[in-house]
């Protein structure tokens, strides 16, 4: 199984939304998925109470004390475990990172987001050094406005891409359907499989699976 953490020191960059979207998409592709909600806000757990989706189980109230045990439980029963981590630097996140095969760092194209995303990437590198285990990671641009990129957003995006940090080719767009799912408990593909939101999630998931496939081959 693959252990995927969704982490960033910055709050509000879309960690929970991305975690739910990836979990739901993978479940609809036939994978069994557990999503561990480690965030104090418990928004993923709230979504879990509304959703009807075979193959996706959302585990609420994962804490610093039980995160390692919950990861172990979940990995024994599922193809994929997604860990939705809280914003900020926390012991909980540092524990989860050390056990992860892959870490996605969501990031908006703004300077505060980018600074925190770089900090998170450095924490992953430190965790990798200490645990002596390879932790693959990649940043993903989130909440990208369709059709328009501001001058400052472009400047920030090009700045980070110039550093050589791994970045997803696909960006997660800012679409109403991603906000509605928290209200309805239904992800875009359940509402309209041909919508722009559904296609965006499919593309992100496909790129992620390509990256995980390389890890599977190397294993």
């Amino acid at each position: 199984m693959a252990l995927l953490s969704v982490a960033s020191a910055k709050g509000g960059c879309g960690k929970t939304t991305l975690s739910i979207l990836l979990g739901a998409e993978l479940a609809m592709e036939g994978y069994t998925v557990a999503l561990l909600d480690c965030d104090l806000n418990q928004h993923a757990a709230a979504f879990g109470k509304k959703m009807i989706l075979k193959g996706l189980k959302i585990v609420p109230s994962v804490t610093e004390q039980n995160v390692l045990a919950e990861m172990r439980n979940a990995e024994s029963e599922n193809d994929m475990v997604i860990i939705d981590l809280p914003g900020g630097s926390s012991t909980l996140a540092l524990k989860a990172l050390q056990r992860s095969n892959f870490v996605i760092v969501p990031c908006q194209a703004s300077l505060p987001d980018v600074k925190d995303a770089v900090k998170t990437m450095e924490q992953i590198a430190d965790a990798e050094d200490l645990s002596r285990v390879k932790i693959a990671r990649s940043l993903i641009w989130t909440r990208v406005l369709p059709g328009f990129e501001s001058r400052s957003a472009k400047h920030v995006r090009e700045g980070i891409e110039g550093t050589g940090l791994p970045v997803f080719g696909i960006q997660q767009r800012e679409l109403a359907a991603f906000r509605e799912m928290h209200v309805t408990g239904r992800v875009p593909r359940q509402v309209d499989p041909k919508s722009a939101a559904a296609e965006n999630v499919t593309a992100i998931t496909s790129e992620l699976l390509g990256k995980l496939e390389k890890l599977a081959v190397a294993a």
């Binding site: 592709e29 990861m71 909980l92 056990r99």
Partner: protein, 128 residues
């Protein structure tokens, strides 16, 4: 002029094959090491703990009868590095001090030590 044949796009049209996610192995690091590493990283990065139980408000804490303070003596000992390391890892794992682990072992070996004097972590008492 003959144009070169375009490459096949068959591979790109085929549905993505299922990725064998189960073949990806999880990191083989034990919990004590992960906890110790997290402590080190947390110190470096200023990490905060989260979702830890909130201490009871002062007014709601049951009043415990004051016990006369027992005179304390300082004991400095040297132990092999590997023993010190094992004590440190266990102390982190159990959230107690190394002193507590040593005193508990002495109590278990038959030395007289009142339970009231066996404190898991005196620093936590001072914070209250």
């Amino acid at each position: 002029m003959n144009k070169a044949a375009l490459p096949s796009i068959g591979d790109e049209l085929a549905p993505r094959k299922r990725v064998d996610l189960k073949s990806i192995k999880s990191a083989d690091v034990d919990d004590a090491e992960v906890t110790e590493n997290s402590r080190k990283l947390g110190t470096e990065w200023g990490a905060q703990t989260s979702l830890t139980p909130t201490p009871e408000p002062e007014a709601e804490r049951p009043k415990v009868a004051e016990r006369p303070k027992v005179p304390l003596a300082s004991l400095r000992i040297e132990v092999p590095d590997y023993l010190d390391r094992e004590l440190a890892l266990k102390a982190v794992d159990q959230r107690v001090t190394k002193q507590y682990l040593v005193m508990k072992a002495l109590q278990a070996a038959g030395y007289k030590l009142d339970d009231a004097d066996l404190v898991e972590d005196k620093r936590k008492q001072k914070k209250r």
